[in-house]
Amino acid sequence: MAEFDYQQLDDIIHSRIRLAIMALLVSVESANFVFIREKVNASDGNLSVHIRKLEDAKYVSSTKKFIDRKPVTTFQITSLGQKAFSAYVDRLSGLISGD
């Protein structure tokens, strides 16, 4: 089986859970924490750590608001995140096709 140089891939995105978060957010306008947690099937703590990493890289931005007196955090992908995700997918496709 052919091996790839994994260093060609963006480290921030190249983790199963962060990849899932990015793929989810790239396909929607915005999503709240609970929705993302259910979709990527992660625990609160695990998801928080991974989202923080994406926020630190400025790939994802968050908005906090109160709904029915409960705090709700909504996440959106940034333009930098969109570019990074697009580059990641292109790189992945390129690796498969051998470019």
């Binding site: 089986m1 052919a2 091996e3 790839f4 994994y6 891939l9 199963r16 990849l19 899932a20 793929a23 989810l24 790239v26 396909s27 929607v28 306008e29 915005s30 999503a31 709240n32 609970v34 929705f35 979709k39 709904i67 029915d68 997918v89 992945l92 496709s93 690796l95 498969i96």
Partner: protein
């Protein structure tokens, strides 16, 4: 990393994106409410033509129903839409499409009839054509074949209505609205 891993990752990304796009339940509520409003309006209009009350009172029930519909929209936006866990691009486009459609219908229905620019006889087929545009486009936005079939139904209905004499077009419009808006709208609520 192997070729197989990369292919799995790409397949995984595709799956997540496709799943996310299917989160479109809000439209069902709007379809149900406007479908019920239109059906009631059409049936009341038909009854009024049969009992011949007299006076220019045909528009009163429509004014009340449409005002009720727009009030629902305002409350829904504040109470429900702002609490939705996810906002998809499909929802955003469809909301814009159907909102512009609702404004057009309101102008045509009230101002068009008031000024005499549109004959009341042809209002139902004109609405059918507009609804068909909305459903046909939504069918592509949500990748839902049944919406495109609804559009076909409305176009056929419009053709029939242009040739129907009397006021039976009102009953046909009411039946079509129940079949193409109320029932699918109810089913769509389970999409989320």
């Amino acid at each position: 990393m192997t070729n197989k891993n990369a292919q799995q990752d790409l397949a995984f990304i595709k799956q997540v994106i496709e799943d996310s796009r299917k989160n479109a339940s809000g439209l069902g509520d709007h379809m149900m409410v406007w479908g019920i409003i239109t059906s009631i309006g059409m049936i009341v209009s038909y009854i009024l033509t049969q009992v011949q009350i007299g006076g220019n009172t045909e528009w009163i029930h429509w004014a009340l129903l449409i005002a009720g519909g727009w009030t629902f929209e305002l409350i829904y936006k504040r109470k429900v839409e702002s609490k939705k866990p996810v906002l998809t691009y499909a929802d955003k486009v469809a909301n814009g499409l159907w909102c512009s459609f609702g404004i057009s219908m309101t102008i045509l229905g009230f101002i068009g009839i008031y000024t005499g620019g549109i004959s009341i006889k042809y209002l139902s087929p004109i609405f059918c054509c507009l609804l068909a545009v909305g459903f046909f486009t939504s069918g592509f936005i949500y990748d839902a074949k049944w919406m495109r079939h609804n559009a076909m139904g409305y176009w056929i209905g419009a053709l029939i209505m242009f040739f129907i004499t009397g006021t039976y077009h009102l009953l046909l419009m009411a039946a079509m609205t129940i079949g193409y808006m109320v029932i699918p709208g109810y089913k769509m609520r389970s999409w989320s």
